[in-house]
Symmetry: C2
Subunit: 350 residues, 2 copies
Amino acid sequence: MTDTTKAGGDAGRAAARPGTAKSAPTIYDIAVLAGVNPSTVSRALSKPGRVSAKTAQKITDAAQELNYQVNVFARALPTGRTQTVGLIVSDITNPAYFEVIRGAETAASGRDYTLMLAESAESAELELTAARRMLATVDGLILASPRLSDEEIGLLASKKPVVVINRSVAGVASVVADTEVGVTDAVRHLAAMGHTAISYVAGPERSWMSQRRWESIKARCDWHGMQATVVASLPPTVDGGRRAAAGVRAGAATAVFCYNDLMAIGLMRELQSAGLTIPEELSILGFDNIFGSDFTTPPLSTIKSPLHELGVSAFRRVLDAVDQVDAGQEPPAPPTELVLRGSTGRAKGA
Amino acid sequence: MTDTTKAGGDAGRAAARPGTAKSAPTIYDIAVLAGVNPSTVSRALSKPGRVSAKTAQKITDAAQELNYQVNVFARALPTGRTQTVGLIVSDITNPAYFEVIRGAETAASGRDYTLMLAESAESAELELTAARRMLATVDGLILASPRLSDEEIGLLASKKPVVVINRSVAGVASVVADTEVGVTDAVRHLAAMGHTAISYVAGPERSWMSQRRWESIKARCDWHGMQATVVASLPPTVDGGRRAAAGVRAGAATAVFCYNDLMAIGLMRELQSAGLTIPEELSILGFDNIFGSDFTTPPLSTIKSPLHELGVSAFRRVLDAVDQVDAGQEPPAPPTELVLRGSTGRAKGA
DNA sequence: TTGTATGCGTTATCAG
DNA sequence: CTGATAACGCATACAA
């Protein structure tokens, strides 16, 4: 039976809407118009070069004329491929993700892929739900600063290509910014400004990157013979930063790193409203260099992350995995960079 | 032929990955395990109540045991439905979209829908591309402050349910914040502070909302017998705001509204770095009340938008359209609200 | 209530 | 190089 009629329920896409008459054209329509077999149309459209130039021309012309658009569902059914990759960020409200989203997005568009974005609102549970949902429809998944456990991530990665950003999970591809260079510069600067004791306001326990940043800071402080302590572990938000104020004041540090700019901003504002002057009485540093970190008074000194590159690079790596191309070496980690503004200064009494 | 074997290319999802053995279970697998017909499984899983409680139980049990997951593509093929709605924002970098995204997202999750997010980077062309791409895979589309022309939007809306946020297009459902109340309060406040001439820094020409806000401001100023003028039309970004500085200084206004907070922040900072003191020499007002608008010195006075409600409401309306339920009345526009902070004060010389 | 038969639009296999 | 045909997994008229 080579029935080319389009019978059956018209439940298809583009049906029943006011302006839309009949359902979208298919390769069958193109086939009759071009006088070839549907399978030839399929070939011509999906694998260039596997069909004679002449018929290919006829077919593309016919497709153009009918304003043909592939039905991605029909295509995905036999192939399992969707030309879509997912990106899950832990908090859409954190400006730090702006650029990683942009980076991934542009990289995706450039390769004719679509990016599917979701957030987990800092909840491991929601993150898992979102990840599972996405996994069913995407070719690969990018997890930015995931709150999931290593096991959960490994499980996801066993089903589809997964790349994690700013985290390291055994057996899973990852793209991590090199915190070293920014931290090295920052601590050296602090030392030069007479600081001898610093503290660190950590982010969530589950945050691999928070841990990583602390280790880096600790190591450099040791090197300089400075004292370094963690004062708290709180949500990576402005409010989290505020809540760190008491702990910070209780300590003896004259300079404090916060896990990210959001926390640094919260901490600074809370301290200021309690009467402290920044940086005269305390130096504050954040991480990321987000939108708004230069709005504050004083503007925030911070360690800038290569957010855009992270997004681009992560997308590239999923695609490599999807296409089974051997990624070769892990690409070098893009470096961080110290951005000195007004929230850091000479140590009090130094 | 009721062949239940799973032959053919194993190109399906979850194939060829290290840990994954055979392809995912289907309703056929469930059917044999539960001892019923596949179509019964389909019914049991998609339309609760159309199958006897007993068999339903058997089927859900079997599904559970096999860890069954519907293949959304296979489902989408005959039905055309994907349980997914798209949201396109004009600039993912604008914090104003945080809450509309969150709103739409939570509303979507609540109804077991997935939100697909994209941005257009303030480009009408990219927006159209993104919209077209999405249209093929979603059940409905939300356009937040689109830069598209009315015709283009109408065309999209003729194919799938479309809802626009903060814009009005003939024949297309829309959700718009009521600017009136916020503006009314703001202008009244300004009048009380002795201002008699205000100016407006407009956003993009294509921005319906920028126009809307201006009309609202103009009307209230007229009412108070105040003079009101537009000084520029620029990109709705911090940099756009900076570029408005010269025009603002050239005018005689003692208070200026900016299309949004981003512009207001840019304008304020530029003016300040040129030596002006805010609000003593000039009062500045923004719109939206975004993240960071209270970080500045002085903190920005602004007209807060019901961003979250806009997102929620927009999602609801697409869903109504998708489900063909008569939306009934246009829901009332959620109101804006004046938020007085430090960037507004008594008119200079008043 | 449940089973039967078929279609959804595309890709893939196998002949010719 | 091209044509015929069988999956891909699910939903749904229709019959029983």
